[in-house]
Amino acid sequence: MKTAEEIFNQLKEKFGSSIIELRTDKPVESFIVINPLEIDKICSFLHDENDLLFDSLMNLSGVDDANGTKEKDEKGLETIKGGTLSVYYHIESTKLKHKLTLKTSTPREKPEVVSVTEVWKGADWHEREAYDMYGIVFLNHPDLRRILMPYDWEFGYPLRKDYKNPEFYQGMKVPY
C-alpha cells in the first residue's frame, strides 16, 4: 500500500519535470498531473516497478475542460477557442491493493497524448472512445478509429462542450 504522495515523490525523483504536480485540493480524489508526451514511459514504470505493480487499468476517460475563451456565433451557439482537453487514468494494483489517478492535459487545438496500449492492452478501446468523443489523438495507438459513432461521421467530436449538431446526416434532417 502506498499513498498518492509517496508515489508522487518516487515519480518526481525518477522523471523530474515530466511530473507536473500533485493535486489534493479538490475534494474526494487526489491526482497527479503528468506531461502527455511522457505518459507511456511513466506508466510502464508504474506497471513494472516492484513496489508499485500497477497491473490493471480500471478506467481511462477523456474530459473537455472547457477552460478556453468562449465565443457565441450568430445562432447563439458557443465555440471554445484555446484551453485544454484532458485524459484521466485510474489505475490500480491487484497485488498490492493501491490505486492512483493520473491526469494529463493537452492543448485543444492539437490534442496529442501518447498511447498506453503497450502497457495495458485494455486501454485500446478506451482510447478509441476518447478519440471518438473528444478527438484526442493517441500517438502510437495500433488502430485508432472511431468506435461508437459511425465510421463516416464527419461532424466533429460529440462530447466536446461546443459540439454542434449537423443539419443533415446522409440526407436525413438531424434535429427532427
Binding site: W125, I147, L148
Partner: protein, 382 residues
C-alpha cells in the same frame, strides 16, 4: 474439441486465401446488435474484429444536460439485465461525492435488490448460453425462475425491467408488505432448481464437450486487458469488489467467492466461466437470507437531499455488477448538472479480449465463447 494452428500452405499447390465472414448485426447468438468481422482460414478463426456502436444512445452526452437525480433512469438503460445494480453504483458514487450517510434499512434493501438482480442476470446468462449451444430446455427453466424475481421487483417499484428505484440517498419506495414472505418462498423453491439446472446443463456430457477447454483465458491476459467479474474469477483469481473494494454493507455478511478450478478442462475455459455464475447464485442466496434476517426498521426516504449540488470535485467509484467492475467517473463543476459522467462498463472492457479468445477456434466455437463472456450490448454502446 481442439484448438487449431493455422497450417502452412506455402509449399502446397492448393490455392488458398482468407475469407471474411460477417456475423451479425442481426444474429441470435450475439445477444443484441453486435457485428463480428471474422477473418477465416477455412473454418478456423484467424482474427475477430468486433464492430460496436449500433445501440449508441449518447448516454454520457445526455448526462451533461440532466440534473444529478435525472441521470438515474438513464443508467437503467445501459445494462438492461442488471438495472438495479447500475442504479446502486451510481447512488454509491454520488453519496461518496456528496458525503451522505444513508439509513441502515436503505443499505439492506439495496443489497437484497442487488443480489436478486445478480441472480436474475445470471439466470439469463446461463439460460441463453444453453440456448446458444443447442439446449433449449434450461432456457425455459431459467426464465421461469427469473420471472419470480421480476415479480418481486414489480411489487416493490412497479416496473419489471427498468426500475428507477434506488435514488441518491435513499429509495423511491419502502418494501411491499409481502416482499419478505415472497422472497423467503422464492429462496426455498430456487435452491432445488439450481440442482436441477446442474443436472440438466452443467454436467451434461454434450455441454461439457462444447465448453470445456474451449476459449481459455489466461489470468495474466485477463488482468492486462482489465477483464473483471465472473470472467476474471473463471480464470482463477479470487477478486470481487464486494470484498476487495468494499462499499455499502457487504462486510456484514458471510459468503464465499467462487473461482474457476478447471474442473472439466483447463482453468479459465468456457465451462469455468459458466460454472462460476452457477455457484455465485448460491452465494447471492446466502447474502439475501442473512439480509432478510437482519433488516432493521426505518425510513427509506429520510436522507434523500432536496437539492443535489455537489462541491467542485471528482470521484471514481466502482461496484461489482453481475458482469464485473462497473465504474462511474463523475466530475462536478459545482453546478446542478454533472460536467462529465464516464461509465466504465464491464462488457465494454471484456469485449476487447474476445479476439484473443477466439483465435484458432472454429466458427461454431465463436458462439460458445461469446455466450460464456456474457455481454450486454446496451452497456457496451451506452
Amino acid at each position: 474439441m481442439t484448438q487449431y494452428s493455422i497450417q502452412n500452405t506455402k509449399d502446397s499447390k492448393l490455392k488458398t486465401e482468407e475469407m471474411v465472414l460477417n456475423m451479425g448485426p442481426q444474429h441470435p447468438s450475439t445477444h443484441g446488435v453486435l457485428r463480428l468481422e471474422l477473418v477465416l482460414d477455412g473454418e478456423i478463426i484467424k482474427d475477430v474484429i468486433p464492430h460496436i456502436g449500433y445501440l449508441h444512445r449518447c448516454f454520457e452526452k445526455h448526462c451533461e444536460a440532466m440534473t444529478y437525480p435525472q441521470v438515474i433512469p438513464y443508467t437503467d438503460r445501459m445494462d438492461y439485465l442488471a438495472s438495479m445494480y447500475n442504479e446502486f453504483g451510481y447512488a454509491v458514487a454520488m453519496e461518496r461525492l456528496l458525503k451522505i450517510e444513508v439509513p441502515e434499512r436503505v443499505d439492506y434493501i439495496r443489497v437484497i435488490m442487488g443480489e436478486l438482480q445478480r441472480i436474475a442476470s445470471h439466470l439469463v446468462a446461463i439460460g441463453t448460453y444453453g440456448a446458444d449451444i443447442g439446449a433449449f430446455t434450461p432456457f425455459l427453466f431459467c426464465f421461469r425462475d427469473r420471472e419470480r424475481i421480476l415479480h418481486l421487483f414489480e411489487i416493490t417499484c412497479g416496473a419489471r425491467l427498468l426500475y428507477n428505484y434506488i435514488w441518491i440517498g435513499g429509495l423511491s419506495h419502502d418494501l411491499h408488505p409481502d416482499f419478505i414472505r415472497l422472497t423467503k418462498e422464492f429462496i426455498k423453491d430456487f435452491r432445488p432448481n439450481v440442482k436441477e439446472l446442474n443436472e440438466l446443463l452443467s454436467y451434461n456430457r454434450i455441454f461439457i464437450e462444447r465448453t470445456a477447454n474451449v476459449g481459455v483465458l489466461p489470468l495474466e491476459t485477463a488482468i492486462n486487458y482489465g477483464v473483471s467479474g465472473p470472467n476474471l474469477r473463471g480464470s482463477g483469481m479470487k477478486w470481487d469488489l464486494r470484498k476487495d473494494d468494499p462499499y455499502s454493507i457487504y462486510h456484514k455478511f458471510d459468503y464465499d467467492i467462487p473461482v474457476g478450478k478447471g474442473e472439466k478442462g483447463k482453468v479459465g475455459d468456457c465451462w469455468d466461466r459458466y460454472y462460476v455464475r452457477v455457484l455465485e447464485m448460491e452465494e447471492s442466496l446466502k447474502i439475501i437470507e442473512q439480509a432478510i434476517e437482519q433488516i432493521p426498521e426505518g425510513d427509506v426516504t429520510s436522507a434523500i437531499p432536496k437539492r443535489i449540488k455537489p462541491p467542485e470535485g471528482q470521484i471514481y467509484t466502482r461496484v461489482e455488477n453481475p458482469r464485473g467492475e462497473l465504474g462511474y467517473f463523475i466530475i462536478s463543476d459545482g453546478s446542478l448538472n454533472p460536467a462529465r459522467v464516464k461509465v466504465r462498463a464491464p462488457s465494454f472492457v471484456t469485449m476487447q479480449v474476445f479476439g484473443e479468445l477466439c483465435k484458432g477456434w472454429m466458427v461454431a466455437d465463436v458462439v460458445a465463447i461469446l455466450g460464456s463472456v456474457d455481454i450486454v450490448l446496451g452497456e457496451i454502446d451506452r
